[in-house]
């Protein structure tokens, strides 16, 4: 269990909350760059950390993330016109630039200084890789831009998708840290998913249902090593990095692309799951890219034109009891991402952690919560910048390796847990 006040501290991310302030120390994904594909394209509503905003791309290609509501009478700028270097409110024509500065109030005299004094709150919006990132904290403390490897490799080597999850961000993140569920919930995916199957390591995964865990504290977060029996004298290690606040990577399989997630709070009851897949040293093949678009691997098949999964809670995730009986899926829900989402949403929007009973094997989750809480309190009480803000911390990788039984992952493969340009991932 977790005490209720700690549960609240960790799950609430609106303005003025402890975890909200934590998230506001980092550059976080605000939307996919494909959502603003060209200059003067339609603006997009964005809600993150319980704040409602509008994202747009102006005539010069500048990105803006501004208060959703017009300073005049509070109309949503989603109904506005994105034209000639600004967003014009549809009601009375007030116009704003990408910084939220009002640049035109048509009803005022043409030499009036009225609009100079009107500014909507705004945040920076910057494209790195396939993502438009924002920083919602104190401008004076803006950190350097993110350096996660998936966002830095050439576009031909990387793919990112996004889906809505109707649950608090923390229970979604915890699923990314909890690697003991893979042998159950996702067991069929290891044998049939085009982005997983065929890896040497899969047989070790399926051959040992009782992994040992090592949770290693690291700058920026944790490395969680799950160790299973491999051969007589060796162990198969799957190593999952977690970076504060909400970045996780899945250990790779064979030569399949590496993947991971960002879990970004929309409000306290919903989050965006950004899912990336990339190859550090080679292009993604056409087949790999197509499989990702089709929702295989850790991606989801979304309703066209939306980021809402086809299998979602309004249709019981297309539960298929027959497929479950036939052994094609463990839970009856198809697709790894939605298997996770269905269970995490079933907990309710914010799971009541006072009712949990955790086991020793949940130590990774326990430690991650403790680190988050400690960092949030140190930020609140001492103004301490949390780990993971420093881009040097971003350069991590997951790994899947076979090691002699007497070796520890953290000592023997520490270099493989660092992103190194031009170096292939450690994966079996």
């Amino acid at each position: 269990m977790l005490r209720q006040e700690i549960n609240e501290l960790l799950t609430k991310t609106g303005p003025g909350t402890e975890m909200g302030d934590m998230f506001r120390q980092y550059w976080i994904p605000a939307l996919l760059s494909e959502e603003l594909p060209e200059n003067d394209c339609p603006q997009v509503r964005v809600k993150i950390l319980s704040e409602r905003m509008i994202a747009f791309r102006d005539s010069q290609g500048r990105y803006g993330l501004i208060d959703e509501f017009c300073a005049h009478r509070g109309v949503s700028l989603w109904f506005g016109r994105n034209e000639d270097n600004g967003l014009r409110c549809a009601y009375h024509g007030w116009k704003y630039d990408v910084t939220g500065q009002c640049v035109e109030v048509p009803s005022e005299a043409s030499n009036s200084r009225f609009c100079a004094n009107v500014k909507l709150k705004s945040y920076p919006l910057v494209k790195v890789g396939d993502i438009l990132w924002t920083y919602m904290g104190d401008p004076a403390k803006t950190p350097p831009l993110p350096e996660y490897e998936f966002a830095l490799v050439p576009p031909s080597q990387t793919f990112t998708s996004k889906r809505l999850q109707e649950s608090n961000w923390l229970q979604a993140l915890e699923g990314g840290i909890d690697s003991s569920h893979v042998s159950f919930l996702h067991s069929s995916g290891l044998q049939s998913d085009p982005l997983f199957m065929g890896a040497e390591g899969n047989k070790y995964n399926l051959g040992d249902y009782k992994p040992y865990f090592e949770v290693a504290d690291a700058p920026g977060g944790l490395f969680i090593g799950a160790r299973r029996n491999a051969e007589e004298d060796s162990y198969y290690w799957r190593i999952t990095p977690w970076l504060m606040p909400s970045f996780t990577m899945v250990p790779p399989r064979g030569d399949h692309p590496m993947h991971g997630h960002f879990w970004i709070p929309i409000d306290d009851e919903n989050c965006w799951v950004y899912t990336f897949d990339y190859q550090p040293v080679r292009d993604l093949t056409e087949a790999e890219r197509q499989a990702m678009k089709d929702g295989y691997g850790v991606h989801s098949e979304n309703i066209p034109g939306t980021y809402l999964p086809v299998r979602n809670k309004s249709n019981d995730y297309l539960m298929d009891r027959e497929a479950q009986k036939r052994g094609e899926t463990f839970s009856g829900v198809a697709g790894i991402a939605i298997q996770d989402a269905s269970l995490q949403e079933s907990m309710g929007p914010i799971v009541d952690r006072t009712k949990e009973r955790l086991a020793t094997t949940d130590a990774g989750i326990i430690k991650a919560r403790a680190k988050l809480r400690k960092a949030a309190l140190a930020l609140r009480d001492e103004g301490k910048i949390p780990e993971g803000v420093d881009p040097a911390h971003h350069r991590v990788r997951s790994a899947a390796v076979v090691l002699p039984r007497n070796q520890s992952f953290i000592e023997s493969v520490s270099d493989k847990l660092r992103a190194q340009p031009g170096v292939r991932q450690a994966s079996v």
Binding site: M1, L2, R3, E166, K210, Y212, F213, E214, V215, A216, D217, E269, V310, K313, S314, N315, D316, Y317, L318, S342, E345, S346, M347, G348, P349, I350, D352, K355, E356, R357, L358, A359, T360, T361, D362, A363, I366, K367, R369, A370, K374, N406, S408, I410, E411
Partner: protein, 169 residues
């Protein structure tokens, strides 16, 4: 594809409003957790955490003697010293236990860890190891074979958090 949200569907069942119908009844605490300090550095931390009133956890410092009882595969015999001065045998203290947490700051306790690990393993008791301090490498290799979960490094707050998460209050 059917889209409706009648009372039988996930959309309805997983709503915030439905959460309040989650059955409410006293939840059983853990059967029992044992926390064993394997060296004097760990002793201070375990003693500190033991003070916060855990109904279902007991706390000890391990003392090793030559194995006169001949426990199989165990190099030494372990005697457990409680912080109230009571002395107990490992065998007696592992009755009705779910998990044993070993806490260490060095590899000093590696033989005790082996004995505790073997005793837990035959009884199906889960083992965890908390490695305290900076210099963790030797401690980790000493505990690794005997702990299903290792936290490296850990601190006293982690011990509290784990005991709470397991419902040892």
């Amino acid at each position: 594809m059917p889209v409706w949200s009648g009372p039988g569907t996930a959309a309805h069942a997983s709503s915030a409003a439905e959460l309040r119908y989650r059955m409410n009844y006293p939840l059983a605490p853990s059967r029992g957790v044992r926390v064993v300090a394997l060296d004097s550095g760990a002793e201070a931390v375990v003693r500190q955490v033991s003070k916060s009133g855990w109904n279902k956890a007991r706390f000890y410092v391990a003392e090793t003697n030559l194995n006169t009882q001949g426990i199989q595969g165990a190099p030494v015999e372990v005697v457990l010293h409680g912080f109230d001065g009571a002395v107990a045998s490992l065998n007696d203290e592992l009755e009705d236990v779910d998990s044993t947490i070993m806490v260490a700051t060095s590899d000093f306790g590696s033989e005790a860890a082996a004995t505790i690990g073997a005793a837990c393993s035959v009884r199906g008791i889960m083992t965890a190891g908390l490695v305290l301090g900076e210099d963790t490498e030797n401690t980790v290799s000493a505990l690794r074979p005997y702990a299903q979960v290792l936290l490296v490094p850990a601190d006293d707050a982690d011990l509290e958090a784990i005991l709470t998460a397991m419902r040892a209050k």
